[in-house]
């Protein structure tokens, strides 16, 4: 059913791409080579899954490993493939929510940039109690600096990670040094 849903969203894809281009230009990190947004999200989807290997979550009583997408679904059906995999010995489930408040029992929350339209400040988002013990990931600029845990940043045509170690530690998650090695650590605001 979800497959049918994704296949009918060709129009919204084009819109997202146009938007990303625009934001990238704003950020000044634009690169003509990474024009293909599909590839970019494919990488990001892979990264989302890869995080499950390097991040450790406190024990939580859930049947599934939940990856929650908040806001506009920029991934399309790229994430559907993840539902065949498992993390922490639990089957992965993808949940989509319009608002962060709706999100419960999520292991990873990905905030789409679409939420900026609603003027929703990210620290605010992150203070949501339901997001405790949840890895927050976003492609929003300066996401990590603003209290998010991991931000996808395009550097030199590549998707790079910015990690806010403080935010990670505060929410009780552990991180592997290997992940730190491939990432840039950001001194950002913590989650009070």
């Amino acid at each position: 059913m979800s497959f049918v849903f994704f296949s009918n969203t060709g129009l919204s894809f084009r819109r997202i791409a146009a938007f990303v281009k625009m934001t990238l230009l704003i950020c000044g990190f634009c690169h003509p080579a990474l024009a293909d947004e599909a590839l970019e999200y494919k990488i990001k989807a892979a990264y989302l899954y890869n995080f499950t290997k390097f991040i450790s979550w406190p024990e939580r009583n859930t049947a599934t490993f939940n990856i929650c997408l908040i806001g506009h679904n920029a991934f399309g059906n790229l994430l559907n493939a993840l539902e065949n995999k498992a993390a922490l010995d639990k089957p992965i489930r993808i949940h989509r929510f319009d608002s962060a408040k709706q999100a419960k029992d999520c292991h990873i929350v990905y905030f789409e940039t679409i939420d900026s339209r609603e003027n929703l400040s990210i620290p605010g988002v992150l203070t949501i109690a339901t997001l405790e013990k949840t890895l927050t990931v976003s492609s929003q600029p300066f996401f990590a600096e603003q209290g998010g845990m991991i931000g996808f940043v395009l550097e030199e045509d590549k998707v790079k990670l910015h990690i806010n170690l403080k935010a990670l530690k505060q929410s009780g998650l552990g991180i592997s040094a290997k992940l730190i090695e491939v990432s840039t650590l950001i001194e950002g605001a913590g989650n009070e």
């Binding site: 990488i43 892979a46 990264y47 890869n50 290997k53 390097f54 590549k158 998707v159 990670l161 592997s176 290997k178 992940l179 090695e181 491939v182 990432s183």
Partner: protein, 785 residues
């Protein structure tokens, strides 16, 4: 390689074995060491590389997953201080080269496809897949060079080899004297054995150094040498013994090959041939065989080869040193040895025997006085000629010569003169007969000439020539001169003439006819001659004797023999024979006995005499009792007649005559003619008790030497000496000597021809035992005794 080893000395072999085994074990150890080390190095390198790859894989997982080539490269960069590393490559999950660190030698493959861990020659390749929760996220591929590690290992092994080599040299230097202690006694033993072999001197002994197996060997070797030495000495002694026997054997012993070449000869043989054994080797035996015997010898050798199973003998001549010819008896046999056939030839010197045989043969066929062929041989030649005539139809003439007036020479000049005359005449005749003619003395004053291939026409003038020769011959003896004549009878030998005896009779008859016609003439035989001879000559007696025996025309007479010293004892007489002719006239034996002897009738006459005498003795009453000794004459032919003994024996049995009363008289000449048989004859009868007397002793051949060999009881002194002893001192001395010698030999003596009392008296003074003669008693018929 095996031959080389076998040629080495024991010492070298021991050293070789020690060196070889040490080197081999060293090499083996080295090989194992190298193999193990190489495997270990590879294994270690692989393990090391794998762990490095694992580490890199682990460290790079995040970099891969988050596409951080920089970090990945940095990770690989940490490997740059591994000197052996040639290349390090990281591949992403799709197998594409993610990042690489490499040296120029070996670049990273573009794809991870077909990559796996392995080693290729001196390079080790390791591929380590990167897994994140069983998910393949990429791979690490490392290649490392083994060369530096191997080189280090080789250096290490080199050091080990060097150390081992030093250790080996030290060990070798330490063991060398020990090996020597094992090898040198063996070498010494071998040297001793070699010395024994070279010198053939078994007195050498090996020295014992130890009591181990080698010591036992030395003892056994010395023991063997002892045995060999003893046996060798014994063998040598035996060989010398046999060699001496061989060399000094007084026969020539040859070993010849089948062609007659000398293989070996004994020393005696070599000496005989005037050379030494070494020089003779290889020479042909035919060099020494008399040329005339060469053919015979060749045949002899062939015969030996044809009949190898037999021993062959023959006699031939061999030329010895200084061209001296000897007669040898060759005894030969074919001998097979392993390789070839040889002829073993033994030559015995029989020269002396041969010469003696020849001499005897010569004497048997020749007359001693004249050196001419004797009657016996003459008969043989006639027989041969008669046989030849039947084959080739040739014509020959037999010539019979009888001297006239020879008796005059004999009677006036004595026997010596007669003998000398015969000898000289023989020489003259011999010079005047043809070369092919055969001259013989037939006995007494008779000669015979066999004129071969001669006709009567040729023979007559030849006979005349001989006649004149004899008539012209003047024989001088003791200042006297004699001349003799000859009567010659010729008989032709041709196909129609009879046998040898007939021809001889014809010639004899012709000769008689020549005499009858007035002597000194040549007469050719004609059938009338035979009649004449039969009537008037000896020849007539042949028939008369035969008839006389048949018709009892012979009569027995006896002449007394009386003891000289005293007149006692029984009757002692000699039996004599007379012929009574058709007119009743008594003929004395001198007329017919020579004919009986010549024509082989004497034995028959003797038998007749014995038979009649024994009959008379038996049948005359009281005669045997009166009789002391009765002597009977035996002719020479009877003596050699083998059946005579049996006849006499049979007569003794037939008439029952006591053997000791019979004495057989034999003449010296007859006894000597066949001495051994005469001796046998005498011995046989004497054993039976018969007596023997030797008649006419002193005339004839007369040698006292014979007396020793003739075991007779009486010696009758020839009347020729006795009748003149009153006048002739030589005769007296002869009689005296014969009497004395006879007495010394234990024989009784009887003097014949005692014609008067004077002779008897003289004989008495001489000590002669018996006398016989007209002075004692004339012969009278037996019945008058």
């Amino acid at each position: 390689m095996n031959r080389l080893f076998s040629r080495l000395s024991i010492k070298s072999k021991l050293f070789g074995i020690a060196i070889f085994s040490s080197l081999f074990s060293m090499l083996l150890a080295l090989l194992i060491l190298i193999t193990i080390n190489l495997a270990e190095i590879k294994h270690k390198a692989l393990e090391e590389l794998q762990s490095v790859a694992g580490l890199i894989a682990n460290r790079s997982s995040a970099a891969l997953m988050f596409d951080d080539t920089g970090l990945a490269k940095e990770n690989l960069g940490a490997l740059s201080n591994m000197p052996m590393l040639l290349s390090a490559c990281v591949y992403n999950g799709k197998g594409q080269l993610f990042t690489a660190w490499d040296k120029d030698i070996l670049a990273c493959p573009a794809s991870s496809q077909n990559l796996y861990s392995h080693h290729d020659q001196l390079i080790v390749y390791v591929y380590q897949a990167m897994l994140q929760d069983k998910e393949n996220i990429g791979g690490v591929y490392l290649a490392s060079d083994l060369k530096p590690a191997l080189w280090r290992e080789l250096q290490f092994i080199g050091v080990v080899v060097f150390v081992l080599f030093i250790a080996f040299i030290i060990t070798f230097l330490l063991t060398a004297p020990l090996l020597n202690r094992v090898a040198s006694p063996i070498a010494l033993l071998a040297k001793t054995a070699q010395k024994v072999g070279q010198d053939h001197d078994y007195s050498h002994r090996a020295i014992k150094h130890s009591s181990d197996e080698l010591g036992v060997l030395v003892d056994a070797f010395n023991g063997m040498l002892d045995t060999v030495e003893t046996q060798n000495k014994a063998l040598l002694a035996a060989r010398n013994n046999y060699q001496a026997l061989y060399d000094n054997n007084p026969t020539m012993v040859f070993n010849l090959d089948l062609q007659g070449a000398i293989v070996s000869v004994n020393r005696f043989g070599a000496n005989q041939l005037g050379s030494d054994a070494e020089q003779l080797r290889g020479k042909s035996i035919f060099n020494f065989i008399h040329p005339e015997d060469a053919d015979v010898t060749e045949q002899f050798f062939r015969l030996c080869q044809q009949h190898p199973e037999k021993v062959h003998k023959q006699e031939n001549r061999i030329i010895c040193r200084d061209h001296n010819v000897i007669w040898v008896r060759e005894t030969a046999r074919l001998v097979d040895d392993e390789n070839s056939r040889h002829l073993l030839l033994v030559c015995e010197d029989i020269t002396e025997t041969r010469l003696l045989t020849e001499k005897i043969a010569y004497q048997a066929s020749h007359d001693e006085l004249t050196g001419l062929v004797n009657r016996r041989q003459f008969d043989v030649y006639i027989q041969k000629l008669v046989a030849q005539v039947q084959i080739d139809n040739s014509i020959h003439v037999l010539c019979y010569l009888d001297l006239d007036q020879f008796k005059v020479v004999n009677d006036t000049g004595g026997h010596l003169a007669g003998d000398e005359l015969l000898r000289q005449l023989g020489l003259i005749l011999r010079h005047h007969v043809r070369k092919n003619d055969l001259l013989a003395r037939l006995g007494g004053d008779e000669f015979g000439i066999l004129m071969t291939h001669c006709t009567l026409a040729q023979a007559l003038p030849a006979g005349e020539k001989l006649l004149n020769l004899v008539r012209d011959f003047q024989f001088a003896w003791e200042n006297r001169s004699f001349s003799v004549g000859v009567s010659i009878g010729l008989a032709v030998i041709n196909r129609s003439s009879g046998n040898a005896v007939d021809i001889l009779k014809q010639a004899d008859a012709a000769c008689y006819a020549a005499k009858d016609k007035g002597r000194n003439r040549v007469h050719v035989f004609s059938p009338n001659d035979e009649e004449l001879a039969l009537r008037q000559g000896e020849m007539q007696w042949v028939e008369k004797i035969r008839l006389g025996i048949e018709q009892n025309r012979f009569q027995l007479y006896g002449q007394l023999i009386s003891p000289i010293a005293e007149n006692h004892g029984g009757l002692h007489f000699e039996t004599l024979i007379r012929y009574r002719d058709s007119q009743g006239k008594i003929i004395p034996p001198g007329a017919f006995l020579p004919a009986a002897e010549r024509y082989n009738m004497a034995p028959a006459l003797d038998r007749w005499v014995i038979d009649r005498l024994f009959q008379h003795l038996k049948e005359t009453p009281g005669f045997i009792d009166r009789l002391e000794t009765c002597s009977v004459n035996l002719s020479g032919l009877s003596l050699s007649d083998e059946s005579m003994l049996a006849f006499i024996d049979q007569q003794f049995h037939k008439w029952q005559i006591p053997t000791h009363k019979i004495c057989f008289e034999i003449t010296e000449t007859a006894a000597i003619a066949n001495l051994s048989y005469a001796k046998h004859f005498i011995d046989t009868l004497r054993k039976k008790g018969c007596l023997f007397s030797l008649d006419d002793f002193g005339s004839g051949l007369s040698s006292f030497g014979y007396l020793k060999n003739l075991p007779v009881d009486y010696l009758k002194i020839d009347g020729l000496f006795v009748k003149d002893i009153m006048e002739d001192k030589v005769d007296l001395t002869m009689v005296k000597a014969i009497n004395e010698v006879g007495h010394v030999m234990g024989k009784k003596t009887i003097a014949e021809f005692v014609e008067n009392q004077g002779i008897l008296d003289l004989l008495r003074t001489l000590g002669v035992d018996y006398a016989q003669g007209y002075g004692i008693a004339k012969p009278v018929p037996l019945r008058e005794l």
